[in-house]
Amino acid sequence: MNTEVLPVEDDEIVKSNKPSPWVRLAKNTSVRVGGFLFSIILLMSLFASLLTPLDPTDINPSNRLKPPGYEGTLRDNDGNKYQVTARMGTDTLGRDIYARVVYGARISLIVGIAVALISVAVGTFIGLVAGYFRWVDAIVMRFMDGLMAIPAILLAISLVALSGASLTAVIIAISVPEIPRVVRLVRSIVLSIREEPYVEAAISVGTPTYLILWRHVLPNTISPLIVQGTFICGSAILLEAILSFLGVGIPPETPTWGNIMAEGRDFFQIYPHAIFFPGIFLSLTVLAINMLGDGLRDTLDPRMEGKF
């Protein structure tokens, strides 16, 4: 044979000057700032009991509507008295807003993460199937169009109202409107990847469909889904807060940021702290997650810019 054996030595290898995704992630400012903020909120929610001796549901009728920095004795529901500074004041039932804000982080994060996981899992499955099997596609996508036409907030509110206010109901109610968005994303990836010659090559060497989806298509959805999942997490936290704020979400005694704000609405002009403190934490959390999402998108999947 005329073609000599081409040794693929190290110096022949096409060198890539791009640093690995992990290095790029660690260098990205958005990821750093967002990650740092998010870690703080996460730690706060995990170690809430170390940050305050009080229970967020402890009622103190004698200490109602105290301003931030109020020093006094607060009682928990078992009657133990604590000499504390109510850093963020107390609400109309004399509950310590600081304790409620710290514990409220838990609910927000649980809702955000659960909704992201559920909607990504369900959406990916439907999207893969719809993208690959034409007859499923026609039916499923029409249904998704319909679902997307209903404003997310109305869909979520009605679902909660019908199934009764509980954490699970809220999580499911918020996941449902997010699913079509994931389905669309995954489907569009599947449709473009299945045109790739390497997928056609896999078809022509007889690889069964489920293996093609698993080996060649699914790996391409991971980066966009991480990005999309992060943004869903952020918007789910917002939506949960909105539901609670409107009084149609998680029951009012549960400490959630939205519930604290709903509680503070009536006396807002005199005691704005009941709205501002949880508002700041809520905004910071969502900001952290969105910055993380931005940074992830820029490093993992630059093409996704603007498509969410």
């Binding site: 319909g146 209903i150 109305l154 807060a241 807002f268 709205i275 501002f276 900001l287």
Partner: protein
């Protein structure tokens, strides 16, 4: 073009039909007796029977559905359990404040966001770009009711420039009407400015990498002309699209904003209806909002077929 238009209009029908099915089934498929759910915990069995009769629950599902759709097509959304009035008349009473708020918001958002996004794209990487992008992430993250309360606290409670809450119909004076809309619209427009500025930047950046921009520069066009004649015109399609997507966000925002600023629109009606378990009203409102969303996206599709000759022919 006409064929495209007719096709696009007909495509609204299946989507709305599916919306109707979802709205209809939501109540019917909830575990338990729908009438009991609607009636709430304090209801007597007589109440429940009454509701069951009003909903026509004895009939078959298909019959109920067809009847309901038929009535809606005739403009009859049923009668409110709570207010004992026809849903149609309640909606027509409350639609104007919502419409005013939404329109005013979109106008503010577009006027501010499109130039900002274009500038940011043109000066990619500059401090201006970074500021706009930074503010836009922030705009996404701060919920509209927090912004609303901050605005109320600063401009109404502390500075006393604006009224705290409330709405004035346009019939009682145009000045007062706009004056009272300024705070709520500003609060609500933040998220749109963020969304539209970001999308404008992305699409302008994308267009700036196109070959025809290089052609325009090779012709010797000044940068201003390259931007206005060649870049913005092509970037308009995705920008218009995102405004369509924004309508969905806008509807959510309207519900919250009306609640914060105590505006007697469809948003507050929705919350009252949900809390009052006034199911016919809720159904009617969801159908209406979804229809508006679908309709606006239809209009947007038509607009962008006008912007892009490749779709037209």
């Amino acid at each position: 073009m006409l064929v495209y238009l007719i096709k696009r209009i007909l495509a609204v029908i299946p989507v709305m039909l599916i919306v109707a099915v979802i709205v209809f089934l939501m109540l019917r498929l909830t575990p338990g007796d729908p009438a009991a759910i609607i009636a709430g915990d304090a209801a007597t069995s007589a109440d429940i029977d009454l509701i069951r009769e009003k909903l026509g629950l004895e009939r078959s599902l298909i019959e109920q559905f067809v009847l309901w759709i038929g009535n809606m097509l005739g403009g009859d959304f049923g009668e409110s359990f709570y207010y004992k009035r026809s849903v149609t008349s309640m909606i027509s009473d409350r639609i104007w404040p919502t419409l005013a708020l939404a329109t005013f918001t979109i106008v503010i958002a577009c006027v501010v966001a499109v130039p900002l996004g274009t500038l940011a794209a043109y000066k990619q990487g500059s401090w201006l770009d970074r500021t706009v992008m930074g503010m836009s992430v922030l705009g996404f993250s701060v919920p509209v009711f927090v912004i609303g309360y901050v605005l109320i606290y600063v401009f109404a409670v502390k500075l006393d420039w604006f009224p705290v809450q409330g709405y004035q119909p346009i019939a009682d004076g145009f000045g007062g009407f706009i004056y009272r809309l300024i705070l709520p619209s500003s609060a609500l427009s933040v998220i749109f400015i963020a969304l539209i500025a970001r999308m404008t930047r992305t699409s302008v950046l994308e267009v700036l990498n196109e070959d025809y921009i290089r052609t325009a520069r090779a012709k010797g066009l000044s940068e201003t002309k390259v931007m206005t004649r060649h870049a913005l015109r092509n970037a308009a399609v995705p920008i218009v699209t995102v405004i369509g997507i924004a309508i969905a966000v806008l509807i959510s925002g309207v519900v919250v904003t009306e609640s914060v600023f105590v505006i007697p629109g469809l948003g507050t009606l929705t919350i009252d209806a949900i809390q009052g378990r006034d199911y016919p009203t809720v159904q009617g409102l969801i159908m209406l909002f979804s229809f508006v969303y679908v309709l606006i996206n239809l209009v947007i599709d038509v607009i962008y077929s006008l912007l892009d000759p490749r779709i037209r022919y």
